[in-house]
């Protein structure tokens, strides 16, 4: 491999990490997706108003089906407090028929969105490995993401969701006091 090749590679690496180095805020890419009933959901409708959890999954992904019941439990527990959860299926068109039976099989109640062309996950997760979970705070910024599922992830997700919901319910002047909670749980806001 020629040296010029490496140099060009490093240049594009630098282009990739510059936004992170200069502290560019972690904005969630906006999107609009269909749900199972044919209706539409636009992220911008909830952004900055609610705490949002996006969980990308597929019917053929076993770790996803290990994670989703926990996320559904979190959804049931905190939905009344303003938590929005969307399980986004990246099953392509040919396996669409398997999505709803999978949901019914596990009695999931959280809303399901369809990303059959992987257009949205591609914007959030470069390698598109799943499951991939994103927590968006009520300030409209990404709080944390999780690539893959490891037992115990759900506890951290719940702690982060609780902290974000607490921020939402507190007056703006005291909202910053919940930040140390994330440090305790290993989470880092960006």
């Amino acid at each position: 491999m020629q040296h010029s090749g490496y140099l060009k590679g490093f240049m594009i690496v630098l282009l990739g990490i510059i936004p992170g180095l200069i502290g560019q805020a972690a904005n969630p890419p906006l999107f609009e997706l269909k749900n199972l009933d044919g209706g539409s959901y636009a992220l911008q409708d909830d952004l900055g108003k609610s705490v949002i959890v996006l969980d990308f999954w597929a019917t053929w992904c076993k770790p996803c089906l290990r994670e989703l019941p926990h996320i559904n439990t979190i959804y049931e527990k905190y939905r009344e407090k303003g938590l929005k959860v969307y399980a986004i299926s990246v099953d392509d068109a040919s396996s669409t028929s398997s999505i709803k039976p999978t949901l019914k099989r596990y009695s999931f109640t959280m809303p399901i969105l369809l990303d059959p062309n992987s257009d949205v996950i591609r914007k959030y997760n470069a390698n598109r490995n799943i499951p991939f979970l994103v927590i968006i705070g009520s300030d409209g910024q990404i709080v944390r993401d999780f690539t893959g599922y490891k037992p115990g992830d759900e506890k951290l997700v719940e702690e982060l969701v609780e902290a974000e919901l607490a921020k939402m319910s507190k007056p703006e002047s005291t909202a910053g006091q919940s930040a140390p909670k994330e440090a305790e749980t290993g989470g880092q806001t960006e």
């Binding site: 076993k62 770790p63 068109a93 019914k104 037992p151």
Partner: protein, 513 residues
């Protein structure tokens, strides 16, 4: 410096400086992005024994993809820049002309996204219905990325959804020897236009119609030839009939060539039917599917396989039913399921003048059980190609145990047997993962393939690999794999990915900002 490279650099710098400049002007200006870097050193020990050393020889590649997304009110723009360095010092494929690209404008798109109108110009993926008449996507298993470069318009109203698109279909292979091949290298210069309308009727009913026209170009005897292919379909769906107990979907499609022997091949016009019915009765879910695909030979189609979810089945000429029943016992957190199918084909006369009939019987089932700290999933599958007298058996077991707190182990084992009058093949696949949520997972992979052909020596192939995946800080994932891995779906370390066959070292970095 080429004009395209200059344009890429200017565009990238403009995008990166845009937030600062625009932040003061527009509060709702949002920039986000992803960055992925992958280093692969593929060095198979036995590559000289391969049937095609051009495709199986060693290579080193380093690929970086920077994705930038820009949102301002209802407008959006996205760009994917790619650099690719690549070496194949011993053998190189003369069809692959470029082994190094820098700041390549790999994909781009821009447009408007409103409440009822979406307009996109640039690169996009597209599928219609259940993928019968149109499926232009990335397919990691086939190591193929196909997208449309052109324009697409979507209208969404209360009563009708409408889409129209047109453009050139671009083909890319990625992450292997032919990574830098372009559309010219494939000798494919296809162009497609299409439209789809879906009417929303009362009682959760939808009626859809799709039409796609493809102009396929290929080099035949050193000159370009083209064929026109037209595909059309109608589909009907009812969701939640009888108080949410029943869903129905059916789609019928036809495919027509403009000549009797497209590209000199003996291809007839095709027909395809796919139907599914799902019944939800308390703890029981029943999914029934029926497919009938005949001469369904479009490049841009991927109909439902009506088969095991993770297998790609025959889709050109096949027909038959499949039924799957699930029973969930909530009191013990146990799921039982069983699936059975019987397929055959239309037994057309082959190009050799013979009639070939095939029948496939397929049965599989499983039990999934959850306890407090333990999860177990076992499956058994049996498939018989009756005419070929070939049998497939598959047993899997997946056990996950939470040791304490956020520490857990996962043990997966899979056994596959394939037997026909000419050969028998045993495949063992296993991995053991130790995970510490959410930071680290360490996996050891071991697979073994044993092939015994009639009248020949027994051959064995071992696949051993180690893998470390870590998330040291949120938004950043690092992964290193060393060893030899078989191709296909790999679900380890708590995540699934689809990858080609590999031997050597891989390192990857994935970052979101």
């Amino acid at each position: 410096m080429t004009f395209q490279r200059f344009l890429c650099i200017v565009f990238s710098l403009a995008l990166l400086s845009a937030p600062t400049l625009a932040g003061t002007l527009f509060d709702d200006f949002k920039l986000s992005g992803t960055f992925e870097s992958q280093y692969w050193n593929h060095d198979p020990n036995d590559w000289t024994d391969g049937e095609d050393p051009v495709y199986e020889g060693p290579y080193t590649s380093w690929e970086n993809i920077l994705g930038l997304n820009l949102d301002w009110r209802s407008y959006f723009a996205e760009v994917r820049l790619r650099s690719m360095q690549y070496t194949d010092p011993i053998h190189y494929d003369p069809r692959s002309r470029e082994h190094e690209t820098d700041f390549e404008l790999f994909k781009f798109a821009a447009g408007y996204r409103g409440e009822w109108l979406k307009v996109t110009g640039g690169d996009f993926y597209k599928s219609y219905g259940r993928g019968l008449v149109l499926f232009v996507q990335e397919d990691k298993e086939l190591n193929l990325d196909r997208s449309i470069r052109g324009g697409s318009v979507d209208l969404t109203t209360r009563w009708i959804d409408f889409n129209i698109f047109g453009g050139d279909i671009r083909w890319h292979l990625f992450k292997d020897l032919l990574s830098s091949m372009t559309i010219e290298d494939f000798n494919i210069k296809d162009r497609a236009v299409g439209a789809r309308a879906v009417g929303h009727l009362p009682f959760n009913m939808n009626l859809g119609a799709s039409y796609v026209a493809v102009k396929q170009y290929e080099i035949i005897r050193d000159k370009y030839e083209d064929e026109d292919l037209a595909l059309g379909s109608v589909d009907f769906q009812i969701a939640g009939l009888f108080d949410g107990m029943l869903d129905l979907y059916t789609e019928y499609a036809e495919l027509k060539w403009d000549s009797e022997e497209p590209f000199g091949e003996d291809l007839d016009d095709g027909k395809a039917l796919y139907s599914s019915i799902t019944l939800y009765a308390g703890p029981v879910t029943i999914l029934g599917e029926y497919k009938d695909y005949d001469f369904w030979a479009s490049r841009y189609s991927r109909p439902p396989t009506a088969d095991r979810d993770d297998e790609i089945a025959e889709t050109d000429d096949i027909r038959g039913p499949r039924i799957r029943v699930d029973y969930f016992l909530a009191s013990t957190d146990t799921l039982f399921y069983v699936s059975g199918s019987r397929f055959d084909n239309h037994a057309h006369e082959t190009s050799f003048g013979s009639v070939f009939r095939n029948r496939i019987d397929h049965l599989y089932g499983g039990i999934e059980q959850k306890w407090d700290n333990l999860y177990a999933h076992v499956t058994y599958g049996y498939k018989k190609y009756v005419t070929l007298d070939e049998i497939h058996r598959r047993i899997t077991s997946d056990i996950e145990y939470t040791i304490v707190g956020n520490h857990s182990i996962n043990l997966y084992y899979e056994y596959k047997f394939t037997g026909n009058p000419g050969a028998e093949k045993d495949e063992h696949k296993s991995y053991l993962t130790y995970s510490i949520s959410p930071f680290l997972s360490v996996t050891a992979h071991y697979s073994k393939h044993i092939i015994q052909q009639t009248g020949k020596n027994r051959t064995e192939d071992e696949w051993i690999a180690g893998e470390i995946s870590t998330t040291p800080i949120p938004a950043l994932t690092l992964m290193v794999v060393y060893g030899k891995l078989p191709p296909g779906l790999i679900c380890s370390g708590g995540q699934c990915r689809i990858a080609p066959e590999f031997e050597g070292i891989q390192a990857s970095l994935s970052y979101r900002f």
